[in-house]
């Protein structure tokens, strides 16, 4: 194994190719810095590429993300590793040595032409993680339409080894014997853009622990709203019915000490409002209700966006949702306590409910692996220079971008990535003797 380990040297190692990692990589590479970018999923793009449209401009998420994905993939200064895990990063003599495992796709990338014939031929249907289980994929499939790179991945766990894919492959690129590859990177600085996950939908017993088919996570709703989403429209997973009454439960995974998430996740108010607006566009006769505690529309143009949603007829009800159950027709029933004009608890029935889940870190230092930086009490990376040097972590030369240091929306994550790239650039200028080109 050791003999085949690929060795690379770079100015900066960026971990995570969501929007923050992509932006940080571009902001470094465009200055002439060499970057190794490592993504654990088969495609770059992170959570953002999974979204339908984004607030407050309502641009389609793909239209903002794919050009950056393409720029990263084509950039002469960026080496990209997908389906790859950073096993560990050690600091020694002012440099960072990272070991990376590139997991097998079971196809040979230099042969594959992305024709999708393998995917068509495969007979094993699986839940599609890109559609959060709502849709299907095959045991060999290209992760999604505009994935980068456009290579299929064979799910070895679920492949029945029937060989149908290999039979139809015109370039004979399928390789069932492929092994993981080791890569070693020697970098001058590190940017952690490890991102977030939603608070688990099954965390709260009062909300059914994820057992109700018509109680969705917000990312599932993003997929229903997305063009070419799993259903071709917004329908109920239980029976394919077009809902006429949809409710959002705000703070379903935030500001909740019982979940260990006492903080505000910053994005849930805005994505709920955005989805509500998109829903009232695609289902003009549907009633859309948002049950909330405080509407936190704090970003540039967000308050105006919120007021537009109110003017469009989205109903905002200040209420606590104590419990969710369902009837025999899988209609979710919300037990609510209104704060305005309260008349005691009441039960309301909706066709479809979205739990506005919050953000938790995708990688926590307490998990071990990766790198020995410290976490704060909220589980996200600690920011020792929060006010003036927001990109710093507890290790010199290691910087954080995006939601690694706490919930952020896309606008803030992108700006944060620029600051991380600047901090890493200046760290290199201080610590690495090689002078920057042309500058005095």
């Amino acid at each position: 194994m050791a003999a085949s380990t690929q060795q690379l040297k770079a100015d900066v190692l960026v971990v995570g190719a969501g929007i923050a990692g992509l932006q940080a990589s571009l902001d470094l590479a465009d200055q002439g810095k060499s970057v190794v970018l490592v993504e654990r999923k088969p495609s770059i793009g992170g959570t953002m590429i999974n979204l339908s449209k984004v607030f407050p401009t309502l641009d389609c998420a793909s239209c903002i993300t794919t050009p950056r994905m393409a720029s990263v993939a084509h950039h002469a200064n960026i080496d990209l590793f997908t389906l790859s895990e950073v096993d560990g990063i050690e600091k020694a003599e002012g440099r960072f040595r990272a070991t990376i495992t590139k997991r097998p796709r079971y196809i040979e990338e230099d042969r594959c032409i992305g024709c999708k014939r393998c995917e068509e031929a495969c007979t094993v249907f699986l839940e599609d993680d890109f559609d959060h289980g709502l849709g299907a994929k095959k045991a060999i499939s290209i992760p999604f339409t505009n994935a980068i790179p456009q290579y299929p991945v064979l799910d070895a766990e679920n492949c029945l080894l029937c060989g149908a894919c290999a039979k139809v492959c015109p370039t004979q690129c399928i390789n069932f014997l492929q092994e993981p590859k080791q890569v070693e990177v020697d970098a001058g600085a590190v940017i952690l853009a490890t991102g977030f996950e939603l608070t688990p939908i099954d965390a709260k017993p009062q909300y059914g622990r994820g057992g109700f088919p018509n109680v969705l996570s917000p990312l599932q709703m993003e997929r229903l709203l997305a063009p070419h989403g799993p259903y071709g429209g917004v329908m109920r997973p239980s029976d394919g019915q077009t809902p006429s009454s949809i409710a959002y439960v705000q703070c379903a995974g935030s500001r909740d000490k019982s979940l260990g998430v006492p903080y505000c996740s910053r994005v849930c108010c805005m994505y709920a409002i955005k989805q509500a607006m998109l829903l009232s566009g695609s289902l003009p006769i549907a009633d859309i209700t948002i049950y909330y505690m405080d509407i936190r529309a704090f970003g540039k143009g967000y308050e105006q966006f919120y007021q537009n949603a109110r003017a469009m007829g989205v109903e905002f009800v200040k209420a606590k949702v104590a419990r969710i159950s369902e009837d025999e027709g899988h209609n979710p029933i919300l037990r609510i306590e209104r704060q305005e004009a309260g008349t005691g608890p009441e039960e309301v029935r909706h066709d479809l409910v979205v739990l506005s889940l919050g953000m938790v870190p995708a990688w926590k230092p307490s998990q071990g692996g990766l790198i020995a930086v410290e976490a704060d009490t909220d589980g996200f990376l600690k920011s020792p220079g929060m006010k003036l040097s927001p990109a710093l972590t507890t290790m010199d030369g290691v910087f954080a971008a995006g939601t690694a240091t706490g919930p952020k929306d896309i606008v803030d994550a992108i700006t944060d990535a620029g600051a991380a790239a600047m901090a890493a650039t200046n760290y290199l200028a201080r610590t690495q003797p090689a002078p920057a080109r042309h500058l005095p």
Binding site: S4, N175, D239
Partner: protein, 101 residues
Amino acid sequence: MSEGEQQGGERKGNYALEQLKQVRATRGAGTPAQIERSRRGKEMQNLILRAIADEAKTVPEISAETGLPEQDVFWWITALRKYNRVQDEKKRGDFVPYRKK
């Protein structure tokens, strides 16, 4: 690392078969649970496709005809729709009828 040797040039037609033999020998071709799941999946696909072969039907209609739970029917419709085996028809009320392609 057999992979390194194979990259580049033409492969012989039965390379995959050789590989599959090797992998099946070490790993087995699916657990009994996976094989059962696959069999059950094919069965549901066939039931659904038969139900909508001549006439477009909604999820509740297919469910009533096949006896399969609505949620399972809808998931398979989604799967078959994605891989071009099923097409949408004009919406009837709150439901989309589906027809075999």
